[in-house]
């Protein structure tokens, strides 16, 4: 009969209306600033720079290779390469970013900078409460604001951080093995130099 669907619909909304007063489980939303829902592990908002150790300036993994700056689709990253060098986590001397700015008003959270970074140094943060009264300066984040410890990365994205650490450890092991091999070769070359020349020389 005509109107049956309307009655059914009214019954449904009435059930929801009264049910939401009776059963708290029905309410799918939480009163946000007082209560929060846990973030999903894959949550991402804006990039941050990872540093190892305690000193954010010394431990910064970024070597100012500027790949992310070139790849960034909305061009929100601005990097100035340093004149001098500092040792990285492997002990190699590397450039570092004298200036590293990200304009969060421009960033579109695409994660391409994270994908292209060969040094595991830029990652996505989960911080979303970034509102500010100053819409120009307040959203332009500098190196100091962007630098966050590796522990923070482990806290927000444990799986990704473990994978990232494994990559770095492998890199370091490779580097050490290479250094050892080089040292051995050097030692070999130094000791029996007159007897047999190193194969690389031949």
């Amino acid at each position: 009969m005509l109107g049956k669907g309307i009655i059914k619909g009214l019954a449904e909304t009435a059930r929801n209306f009264f049910g939401s007063f009776v059963s708290e489980r029905r309410l799918t939303t939480v009163p946000y600033p007082d209560a929060r829902q846990p973030l999903a592990e894959n949550t991402r908002q804006f990039p941050f720079l990872v540093y190892d150790g305690d000193d954010w300036e010394q431990g910064l993994r970024c070597v100012a290779c500027q790949i992310c700056e070139k790849e960034c689709p909305p061009q929100c990253i601005y990097i100035v390469k340093s004149k001098d060098k500092k040792p990285d986590y492997k002990g190699q001397m590397q450039f570092y970013p004298a200036v590293f700015d990200i304009d969060l008003a421009v960033c579109m959270s695409c994660q391409i900078c994270v994908e292209v970074c060969p040094f595991e140094s830029i990652k996505m943060d989960t911080e979303f409460e970034l509102s500010t009264a100053d819409r120009f300066g307040g959203l332009l984040f500098h190196k100091k604001q962007l630098a966050k410890p590796n522990a923070h990365y482990h806290r927000i994205h444990p799986t990704d951080a473990a994978a990232s650490d494994a990559v770095l450890a492998a890199e370091k092991a490779k580097q050490e093995a290479k250094a050892r091999a080089a040292a051995e070769a050097k030692a070999k070359a130094a000791a029996p130099a007159p007897v047999a020349p190193p194969p690389s020389a031949s």
Partner: protein, 431 residues
């Protein structure tokens, strides 16, 4: 002089309320408290004028006091309803709804009922944008013209025993006459904005409001026929007492029930509320006829819409739900105005409930519904009420009239929707 007389009055009223004897005098004093307050105020204020001026002053002050009371009470109700509506809709969607705005700089939240104050302040301090191409005078006048007839309609609405601003002999006629002026304001707004969305919204609104005004009035006619009065107080007086175990309200008769449902449907369309909110369908028309309004002019449209909703609900209460009468004699100790506002809030809840349930209609569905379904049913209802009037009171009369309501309803419903088979839609070009 003023404080002494006022304090004496308040003391007398309080004493009357508390010590005036259990029952009758107390309830009567409470029932008529606003009436006596008004009489006292008018007499006191008119007493300040020289004797020669007093008749005129009494008339003017009485009008001002009543208008102030109507605007104050119903504007407050509007403020509360905006929050209640958002909360109700939220609950229907399993959300909390607004629950944060309270008193500023404190932790007091008032469960979100500070929201209308915040909204009002925002509307007041917002920039008032007038389009360059707009017809400035008409654009300015439209919100005012929208509010005035709506408030005029309150004049004939009895909100309690002896509580009607203007007891006209042709009250219902007056109500529909001023209600018809709202269309003018809508078209003024749409036309003067020089905006295609506003114009389309206004044209839809005119088409809809004129189409639904006919079933609205025809649904009210049976009540006038039975009550033999066009006066709102007369219609309420005709619904006094009990009919069997039910109150003698017109909604508890077959023709009255049908008339009430038809009236409510037409009233929903008349006040442009969902599911008949095509004039402001935001998915296709931005905001309809008030697209180009901002700030306080927009707030006036908003206010007029809600005041129109309240006044038409009030008329539905007057015509079908017994006005300010209590449902049962043993509940009559509660004041009459209390019953009126309980019924009003109930009907507002029904409107919110409908809004939370039904999707918006298409324009052709809307028009078909008005002209092919509501109009024939209201016309048949006129016949039903005549049959009801001329048959003697018996179960027989009930059976005949119930049949006269149900059979056309089912037949029309089948005729309009039954033969339409739902086929798989064929796209000729879009494949």
């Amino acid at each position: 002089m003023f404080p002494r007389r006022l304090s004496v009055f308040i003391l007398r009223q309080t004493l009357a309320a508390y010590f005036g004897g259990l029952g009758f005098y107390m309830t009567d004093a409470l029932d008529q408290i606003f009436v006596t307050t008004k009489q006292f105020l008018v007499a006191f204020l008119a007493g300040l004028f020289p004797p020669a001026w007093q008749p005129l002053a009494t008339l003017l002050i009485s009008a001002v006091v009543m208008v102030a009371a109507i605007i104050g009470v119903f504007a407050t109700l509007f403020a509360i309803t905006t929050v209640l509506e958002r909360k109700g809709l939220g609950r229907m969607q399993n959300r909390h709804g607004p629950n944060r705005v309270g008193i500023p700089f404190t932790q007091i939240r008032l469960a979100g009922f500070g929201q209308p104050a915040a909204d009002g302040i925002k509307a007041l301090i917002k920039e008032d944008v007038v389009p360059v191409a707009a017809d400035k005078v008409v654009h300015f006048l439209a919100p005012v013209v929208m509010v005035v007839p709506v408030i005029l309609a309150y004049a004939v609405l009895p909100v309690g025993r002896n509580m009607v601003a203007l007891d006209l002999d042709a009250g219902v006629l007056f109500f529909f006459a001023v209600g018809g002026a709202v269309e003018l304001a809508v078209f003024m707004a749409g036309w003067s904005s020089r905006n295609k969305y506003a114009l389309l919204g206004a044209m839809r609104a005119i088409a809809q409001m004129i189409s639904y005004e006919i079933p609205l009035i025809l649904a009210a006619v049976p009540v006038i026929m039975i009550a033999r009065s066009l006066s709102t107080t007369g219609i309420i007086a005709a619904q006094a007492g009990q009919a069997g175990f039910l109150p003698a309200w017109f909604v508890f008769t077959p023709w009255g029930f049908a008339g009430f449902v038809l009236f409510m449907i037409a009233a929903t369309a008349e006040s442009n509320r969902s599911p008949f909110d095509l004039p402001e369908g935001e998915s296709e028309l931005v905001a309809g006829y008030f697209t180009e309004y901002s700030g306080f002019k927009f707030a006036l449209f908003f206010l007029a819409e809600y005041l129109g909703l309240f006044v038409i609900s009030g008329l539905a209460i007057t015509l079908f739900l017994g006005g300010w009468h209590a449902p049962f004699p043993w509940l009559a100790w509660l004041p009459s105005w209390f019953w009126f506002f309980v019924k009003l809030l109930g009907l507002i809840f029904v409107f919110i409930w409908l809004r939370g349930t039904l999707p918006r209609l298409r324009l052709d569905q809307l028009m078909n519904f008005a002209w092919k379904f509501l109009l024939p049913l209201t016309l048949i209802n006129l016949l039903t009420v005549a049959v009801w009037h001329y048959l003697s009171a018996s179960g027989w009369r009930w059976a005949v009239c119930v049949l006269m309501v149900i059979v056309p309803y089912v037949a029309l419903g089948r005729g309009l929707w039954g033969h339409r088979r739902v086929r798989k839609r064929v796209y000729r070009y879009a494949e």
